[in-house]
Symmetry: C2
Subunit: 366 residues, 2 copies
């Protein structure tokens, strides 16, 4: 159900849709492609959660790309996900080239149930695909009273300090601590200066990309899919060498080692495969769950965490700032708003969803 119309931050006139309706539509698309009912629901839930939290570029906007790759046989709809616990707390997961959201969900679920016994459990995951937002998986741990960790590698676009070409993906890290009250702490960040999605938004508005976002070798542009391609190289978090960019580069490489090298997936520039129309993406992830009570009584932890939040909140504010946010708080606020008003879908994304619907002969999103 279309909920209303409004000018979007993302450029163009975004429409708002009932998240439940978009989820059902997405689920239907996956089912039509041969995905089991349960897995389709999981994949749709992960994607729409990204839209709810305001990470529009990782939400239903990604469905078309996934749809095309499934149709081409580049992603398995009934993957054989194999988990091999090589020690009580660590193991390897072969994602069977499944949909990233499905692989990620199963791997994280397994980590959580194992950490319930051992206190901590980790899986390095190979042979997977784009998995949506890392924060979805750490939120799963959160609900089980666990600290969650999730990372993934991605197509190469971030320049290592001193170099002039993209080697690493925007390689996000998410860490979430279970909270009792709002806000809890949910870090979900690309290790690049800004995510690719933010660059897309600025370009769609026809504005200048702020200094420090992209590596100044190429004038940033949008491709035919309305996103900045891999050739628009990005700075790591911290920007250039003088301002600590080597730390962002170090974090990005760390994510690639955990996700790619440790799992036997693709890594570095090999991940260009994830954009090629004739190869498995071979993306790798890393998941972990640690039991909060394995370190400290949860009540004592929660009380001290609230104390730390009060500490941050009592900091004098910069002019024009209303409140200092805790990691994850802007997304939680956005989620409430989007739940009520509907999630925003750009006309260009909508057009692709309509194309899918007509190709699969299912009811269009309305």
């Amino acid at each position: 159900m279309k909920m209303n119309e409004m000018p979007s931050e993302s450029g163009g006139e975004a429409l708002r849709y009932d998240p439940e309706a978009v989820k059902q539509f997405t689920c239907k698309v996956f089912e039509c492609l041969g995905v089991s009912c349960e897995d389709a629901r999981i994949a749709a839930d992960v994607l729409i959660e990204a839209d709810l939290r305001g990470f529009e570029c990782h939400g239903v906007a990604r469905l078309y790309h996934c749809y095309l790759r499934v149709k081409k046989g580049l992603i398995e709809t009934s993957p054989k996900i194999q988990i091999d616990w090589r020690t009580p707390a660590t193991g390897h997961c072969d994602g069977g080239n499944g949909i990233g959201m499905v692989v990620g969900w199963h791997a994280m679920k397994t980590c959580i149930s194992r950490a319930n016994e051992t206190g901590a459990a980790f899986l390095a995951v190979g042979r997977s695909n784009h998995f949506g937002i890392a924060g979805y998986y750490t939120s799963m741990a959160h609900k089980s009273g666990m600290i969650g960790i999730a990372m993934t590698n991605a197509s190469p676009r971030v320049v290592p300090t001193g170099g002039m070409r993209g080697v690493f993906g925007t390689n996000p890290i998410s860490v979430c601590f279970p909270g009792k009250k709002e806000p809890s702490f949910l870090l979900d960040m690309a290790t690049s200066a800004v995510s690719s999605g933010k660059i897309d938004v600025v370009l769609r508005k026809g504005e200048e990309v702020p200094p420090g976002w992209v590596y100044p070798s190429v004038r940033p542009f949008l491709d035919s899919e309305d996103v900045a391609p891999m050739s628009v190289f990005q700075y790591p978090l911290g920007g250039g060498e003088k301002t600590g960019g080597y730390k962002g580069y170090g974090l990005g490489m760390m994510v690639d080692i955990f996700s790619g090298v440790l799992s036997g997936a693709n890594f570095g520039t090999r991940l260009a495969a994830s954009k090629r129309p004739d190869a498995e993406a071979g993306i790798g992830h890393f998941f972990g769950a640690l039991k909060l009570s394995g370190f400290r009584e949860p009540d004592a932890f929660h009380a001290d965490f609230q104390e730390l939040v009060r500490d941050v909140r009592s900091c004098p504010l910069e002019p024009g700032v209303e409140k200092i946010h805790i990691a994850g708080e802007p997304e939680a606020e956005m989620r409430k708003e989007n739940q009520q008003k509907g999630i925003r879908i750009l006309p260009s994304v909508l057009e692709k969803l309509h194309r899918i619907a007509s190709e699969l002969d299912i009811k269009q999103l309305q």
Copy 2:
């Protein structure tokens, strides 16, 4: 043994000393203070390793501060370090207000031996003190074929995005992957834009602090101990809001939650205690070890890691850049040089070492 004299990057004329001689001197100081022979050796080794790697501000330069606090009874020389494994893979460590290097060494050692059985092991450590460089502990894991993780919180000086006062420490993170060949990967980074030590170096040279390093509310200055005090607030990694500084702030807060909140240590602005002349520092750390073979055959890991290094090295270089470094490589190169030429000690530091020697009536460092 004084090895030679040279103008130092740190400003003033630094002298080079045989690392073994400085280690023996440091060890002797700790023993005179009542530290056991074994613990004194550990503490000295951690400090001098910092000097060897070029982290001069975390090396023997810290001895005087530690010495004063021990003399005042603010640090225990024979701490009762209590480790409570609350699950097979996670636990709590009470550092007994011991010397940070001693507490850190014991906690990491215990994680490594436990991870040998379980695949992964983690300790949240409370009631500790300044522990030197985080990378020392992750190097310990490295030598045992483990992935090492170490973090610590520190005195408040980093401004959360939107605020105007320091709430978090420079809160470093280190992650090290075991390597077979050089270079291996050893990330050891403050979550601030730059470490406090770099700011000290620039100020000592009488130069302008580059933009993005310190929060522009206070003109940076050195205190009577020749370091920038806590009131010289710093930007988190990423700088201001526009360039992703909220990510650095998020990482810094994450380190504080792992190290302080999870362990029951001090956190946030409470860590000002670490600079007060009448209170336990109450610093917290977090350590982890994960067995490499618990994820993948080490030989396959090492081969792919070398492949990733080649990938980075084949990136076209910026003008004036000779080689793209892998995290930890500059420090490894510096270590070789310092091992040979001697570690650098500033005259102001040397003067304090002489003061300690004369107070304890031991032989001066020569």
